[in-house]
Symmetry: C2
Subunit: 123 residues, 2 copies
């Protein structure tokens, strides 16, 4: 999720503007929120906290706000008491599930190789 939006993140060799960096989409928790919502059902703020390592409300708010701003999910506040707010993926958010699953499959398949390589490197 922290991948630069520029798919290759390469620059024109003639470009001299070092500040011309690609924009970034997503933070540490974006992928996990996506997976929480991937079955299509809308979930509430507190429902999202539990599977996400009891992420603090501040960080969850920031994550959800950023995803809403980027068009990945919708925020629906029902005018009730006590308040009820529900989050659900947009079509754009769902379109990210494919690449995300590919990454997760890779992690499942090759995760142990990474761990073993790290241990071998220590020696």
């Amino acid at each position: 999720m922290s991948e630069p939006l520029d798919p290759a993140m390469f620059r024109d060799p003639d470009c001299t503007d070092r500040a011309a960096q690609p924009i970034r989409v997503g933070g540490k928790w974006t992928a996990s929120v996506l997976r929480c919502l991937q079955d299509g059902t809308a979930r509430r703020f507190s429902e999202l906290r539990v599977p996400l390592y009891w992420i603090t409300p501040k960080v969850l708010t920031e994550t959800l706000r950023a995803m809403e701003r980027d068009g990945l999910l919708t925020r629906t506040a029902h005018d009730e008491n006590p308040p009820r707010v529900e989050y659900a993926l947009t079509a754009l958010g769902r379109s990210l599930l494919g690449p995300l699953d590919a990454a997760c499959d890779w992690a499942r398949t090759h995760g142990t190789e990474i761990v073993e390589a790290r241990e071998a490197y220590g020696a």
Copy 2:
């Protein structure tokens, strides 16, 4: 590349150890290094710097060391003068190109939607 190795990054709801976080593979530049080397040819330190926004040597060194440690690439130092060091992907590194391409394809296809969503959000 900053995805947690745990594919879902969900925790056992009964787990009370908040520090039990999944390990992470890769940093800001890992995907770009991967793409620099994806055609299979080994490249030298200074060859890698140019397309990577003239990344500073310190950061490139750290990135390459981490990738070597994780088994994603090999570092070959030829005993010459001036020194020559070449980096090439391992099989594990090449296996990451698939998921990476999927992510890049997504960015190519949906990048403008993100930008538009951000602009619309400002209004």
